[in-house]
């Protein structure tokens, strides 16, 4: 019984290794959107040294996937926001139905990944608000 279990586990490992080897081999043909030179630059800056192109592409693909996931979530938020607009307004906005990446959508999608992004606080006040009363009188 133990022997059969060990055989199964060894077979599973072999399969996993084969999958990983295939994936690494496929990375040689795959061109990520983030160029290799750029990834190399940032990796070198962080102390990561490896001459293997496959590892560099692995990092590039991981980053691309993360950004794509975040952007997909933001797109869903954008579509959901557009669909909830009141019918009267919708008719007007149908002409301008563009999917724009906005701060609200991005902050909502990034919150799921543990990144808190907020609009920068903007205070509008009169230019003489912080000055002394004496200088104001002048």
């Amino acid at each position: 019984m133990n022997q059969s279990q060990s055989q199964q586990t060894s077979e599973g490992r072999h399969e996993d290794d084969a999958v990983l080897a295939d994936f690494l081999a496929s990375l040689m043909d795959y061109t990520p959107t983030i160029p290799d030179e750029l990834v190399e630059h940032y990796l070198g800056k962080s102390g990561f040294q490896c001459p293997d192109v496959r590892l560099i592409r692995l990092v590039a693909v991981a980053t691309q996937k993360f950004i794509a996931d975040v952007a997909t979530d933001a797109l869903q938020h954008c579509k959901a926001r557009q669909s909830t607009i009141v019918k009267d307004k919708r008719d007007k906005q149908q002409k301008d139905k563009r999917l724009t990446l906005t701060m609200d959508d991005l902050s909502k999608s990034l919150r799921e990944y543990g990144v808190n992004v907020k609009h920068q606080d903007y205070f509008a006040d009169s230019p003489s608000a912080g000055l002394d009363p004496a200088s104001r009188e002048e």
Partner: protein
Amino acid sequence: MSSKSNLNRPLAAKATAIPPPSTPLSESDYAFTITRTAVAQICSSIGFTAAEAPVLGILTDIAIRYLRTIAKSAADSANSACRTQANLVDTIAAVDELSSVSGFPGAWRATGCFLNSGAVKKLDTFTEDSKEIPFAKPLPRKIFSVGSRKGLRNVGSSKIEYIGGEKKHIPTWLPVMPVIENHEKEIVEKRRRELWGYCAKTEEPEREKKEEKKTDSGEKERKGLELPLKRGKVRFKIGGGGGGVLGVCRSGGIGKRVLCENWNFDDENSSKQEQLDEVTQQQ
């Protein structure tokens, strides 16, 4: 009047903080701009038609931070294993660590092997499913290919590292040796003069020597027509029993070794003589 001057202060500060548009961008700005383009390409591939500029900047910043965090994590795990170069296991461990926030299949295994990680399998499916979008323009690699600096790559503004050529065995984390110009001979000559004054060798006798060498070599060349300077290869067998040309023969049964030479140059000499005759005929 004073209120006016007070009002002008923050504007002046702002003006000094923002660099004028004519100044060249630094390397980090250049890299940021390229990343921004790549992120914009990813967003457009997903379905966005437009993006607000500051939002795109934030997403670019997050992408850079993500990349650098992976790199730092992998480099740390490599260093903790007494290695300078990160390998596949370090990289996968770093990817696992970062994707554990959102979760992946098989993350519950505390002692699972890194090589069958669920995060990597997700990446595999991503590469299979997503459309391949290469970067808009190919980027140039900064490689010096002039003279003695061949095989060097410019990494930073003042940092250079070896990538190939004769010095490719030097690890990349070592600083580059300063490039010494061809003033070495002059310096050596100066030092010799300082040490020995004019008793040291001067250039004239050296020239004479060179001339002498030249004449000698000319004579040798002439001689070479008669006898070859380089002798042909001589094969020999040890203890071959007469078959070898040069070897050690055991004479008698006492164990006394005698060097015996059997030169058989008849064939070789005849072939060389033929070649020489041909050359002289051509001349």
